[in-house]
Symmetry: C2
Subunit: 121 residues, 2 copies
Amino acid sequence: MSITSDLIRGHTETIILALLQQEDSYGYRINKAIRSATDGEYELKEATLYTAFRRLEEAGYIRSYWGNEESGARRRYYAITDAGHDAYRQSLAEWHRANLLINRLVTGIYPREAQEGGESI
Amino acid sequence: MSITSDLIRGHTETIILALLQQEDSYGYRINKAIRSATDGEYELKEATLYTAFRRLEEAGYIRSYWGNEESGARRRYYAITDAGHDAYRQSLAEWHRANLLINRLVTGIYPREAQEGGESI
DNA sequence: ACGATATACCTCGCCTGTCAAGGTATATCA
DNA sequence: TGATATACCTTGACAGGCGAGGTATATCGT
């Protein structure tokens, strides 16, 4: 894994919601999906994942239920709620705004006044 | 301010380096530049800023010197080092990669196998 | 003369999200 | 029988951000 966690920090919940938006899923599978979607460049650690689940459930953005597997280990499935949908849309919008700002800031492309003395306010 | 800190977390140092790449500057001014560049949507808190300075200096990415103001409060100027330039370039590249991954993950656009069962590895 | 505001620096201690390390249990395959 | 994959979970530490507080100088209005 090569992407530092600080760059992803804050996106964990959005990523989970994005996946659950498509269909109910469970921890192990979500984790694998993320890993393979990023070609192994990023993975959520299990501890991170499960604390995120708890946060999301407490916030009312997801709910969980046990799957009825007849074989293999039990699975706890998660489903996104209506509030979760709203939260997801909002997070996505926030990310788009933040993306613009971050790009501007890290590339050092600043409005002229900010560099010339900043008398704008 | 509306952008949550977790979305910016990890970019603080890159943002500072980006500014110092253009010219030496000092804390207060850097802070103002960021605020005005984002139209007030984001600002580094002073505590964050100064701890970042210390980290960057300890890492050898910046060095500092006192300005010789004849009036007004003293200013501690920061200059980027060669190692700082390298670190900046690397951070920027990392950010571009992370940006792609984050976009993919938060929009839920996943390769097919990841959704179908993930037998790719 | 005095207070408010802007400039400019700094520190302490808390909060929050991440994660290493550890644990449990079931099924498959060599 | 042991290794590996699946599948879940918790504890404690760590690091970065930040609220709250502090210091000092200069300017401007009253």
